[in-house]
Amino acid sequence: MPGTLAKAVALTLLVAAVLVPLWAVLVTSLASRGTIDDAGGMVMVPREIDPSAYITIFSGGDVTRAVWISTLVTVLGTTLSLVLTVLAAYGLSRPGSVAHRGLLFYFLLTFLIFPGLVPSYLVVTGLGLKDNIWSLILPSAISVFNLVVIRAFFMNVPAELLDSARIDGAGELRILTRIVLPLSRAVIAVVGLFYAVGYWNAYFNAVLYIDSNDKFPIQRVLQSYILAGQSPNVSGTAVSLPGVTAYPPTLAVKMAVVVVTVIPAVIIYPFVQRHFTKGMITGAVKG
């Protein structure tokens, strides 16, 4: 096959493009000051494993606090989002029920018309959510895309199953939790990952709504450490460097913050990845 070599080269380059930066960041975060100085910056070849950067960031201070805030936001937010989205998807999964068409239209219309940034900001601040971590959760709690994906799954549950449960006297909530949900674990896992990643990655809402340093999520801290630290004349969205230590963070400390920010996605991802294609095909089904 003449194309085989070209294919192999292309695939190797693709994989390397993703893995090399991850490798460089991980190795540098575990390098000692001497190794970093010898390399002149980012380290590619590990010489030793020096966890001092991680000890620094987890011995209290901005990063430790931000990891807690982001974890809290992610756990609270994902739970709330999943519960409300599953309930709504089930409520919308029975064509012919009262107000079904109108309600479906109400949800789907959000794909076509959006609020702008300014009115959204005014609503969130008007509700008194400014500088409150719920401002990172409530405005983005419902993704109608995720709702449509789950609903498409629910609608494929055989109607005989539901009917027989109903004849046995089960209520809707019971049917949902005992029959429909156990059949839909794959899609719940994928949507749960989508929500969790969204909350963990929340950056701009924090720029808009969170004023106090002690409520910054991890992305905001990462931005101020690396991107703002990189070019000191940055202003506007950038915040003044919140010192985790008395001295400016060394490269290893910065890279350790990057690793901490990456890790949740890398850990959860393999468990959910095999369901992606299924979830995406379902997503292509129109409501």
Binding site: G40, V98, L117, P158, P182, L227, A265
Partner: protein
């Protein structure tokens, strides 16, 4: 037990197995009886509907402050300020359309959209075809796992990785300096910024974008390829006559969605890099709205720019969808 199989059945509203003759009888029931039967379903949808009402539809209505000289200081809270602010008709829009910075932002946005349509949009299709041609399931699974991963990184992380690789203190610059070369200016060069943001987008979403094409490819009947090969069609002819037609509906759908979204090119990506490369290159419509409204407190002007974007975006997606229907494609929503 595995999850129920998922077959895309557009337009079908009844779940399989529900006998059709029962429906007319149901519809004849009184509303009261139907409500008694269905109230749990309504109650289940209510909390999500309420959240959308407050955080989606209420701000959508709030766009009317685009017709006000909105001043947050004339009231105790945003609602009070809204009630007390002066109505100025299309004043904000007139000011907006006279502002050269606004047209710069529009031009940048459209340029980036066009550039990415040419240099980003085809790549996931190519990757999907490439992945689909790999026979070994293990190699394919490994490559897929790796290339999907960056989709789950935040923009802060993506820009961070690029800074650490290509920035002034990054890996590339450090290697070039050691080789006695003058490092290239990549992260801060306004002239090449469009290439940089496209490269970042490709790095983040190339693999993820391929998923939907992979799904479409797996739906193509393998017998078609065998028959074509038996008839002497080479690999390029098979690609042209079987693979691409098989992908056509998905390609058209995604093109429509991209066109409808022509005025959005991403937000955080630009906010994060605007200071490093300067306003001239990195100001897009979304960042313009942000800086007008929240940074310089010109609320009415920012709202006007946001409303302009929403209305033009809606018009674009409706137009693109209409064109798709004319071409005999299904589009984003069906005609009914």
């Amino acid at each position: 037990m595995s999850a129920p199989s998922v077959t895309p059945t557009p337009g079908r509203e009844t779940p399989a197995g529900r006998p059709p003759p029962r429906r007319p009888r149901r519809n004849r029931r009184t509303l009261r009886a139907r409500l008694r039967r269905d109230w749990p379903l309504l109650a289940m949808a209510a909390p999500a509907a309420a959240l959308l009402l407050v955080f989606h539809y209420l701000p959508t209505l709030g766009n009317i402050i685009a017709f006000q000289d909105y001043n947050p200081f004339v009231g105790d809270d945003p609602l009070d300020a809204f009630l007390n602010s002066e109505w100025i008709g299309f004043g904000n829009f007139e000011a907006l359309f006279r502002d050269p910075a606004f047209w710069d932002a529009v031009r940048n946005t459209l340029t980036i959209t066009a550039f990415q349509l040419v240099f980003f949009f085809p790549l996931p299709i190519m990757l999907a075809i490439l992945l689909n041609s790999i026979v070994s399931g293990r190699v394919r699974g490994f490559v897929q796992s790796v290339v999907y991963l960056p989709h789950f990184f935040s923009w802060v992380l993506v820009v961070t990785f690029f800074v650490q690789m290509f920035g002034g203190a990054g890996l590339l610059a450090q290697e070039m300096r050691q080789a006695g070369l003058e490092p290239w200016e990549i992260m801060t060069n306004p002239d090449t910024f469009i290439v940089l943001v496209t490269a970042e987008s490709v790095w983040k979403d190339l693999g993820w974008g391929a998923i939907v094409f992979l799904a479409a490819l797996s739906a193509i009947d393998p017998n078609l390829y065998e028959a074509a090969a038996a008839d002497g069609a080479g690999r390029w002819r098979r690609l042209w006559h079987i693979t691409l037609p098989g992908l056509r509906p998905v390609i058209v759908l995604l093109l429509i969605m991209r066109l409808g979204d022509a005025l959005s090119v991403g937000f955080e990506q630009f906010i994060l890099q605007r200071e490093a490369v300067g306003r001239e290159a990195a100001e897009v419509l979304d960042t313009f709205v942000y800086y007008q409204a929240i940074s310089t407190q010109q609320w009415g002007l920012g709202a006007a720019a946001g409303l302009f974007k929403a209305v033009v975006g809606l018009a674009l997606i409706l137009t693109a969808n209409k064109i798709a229907h004319r071409l005999g494609e299904q589009g984003v929503y069906s005609k009914s």
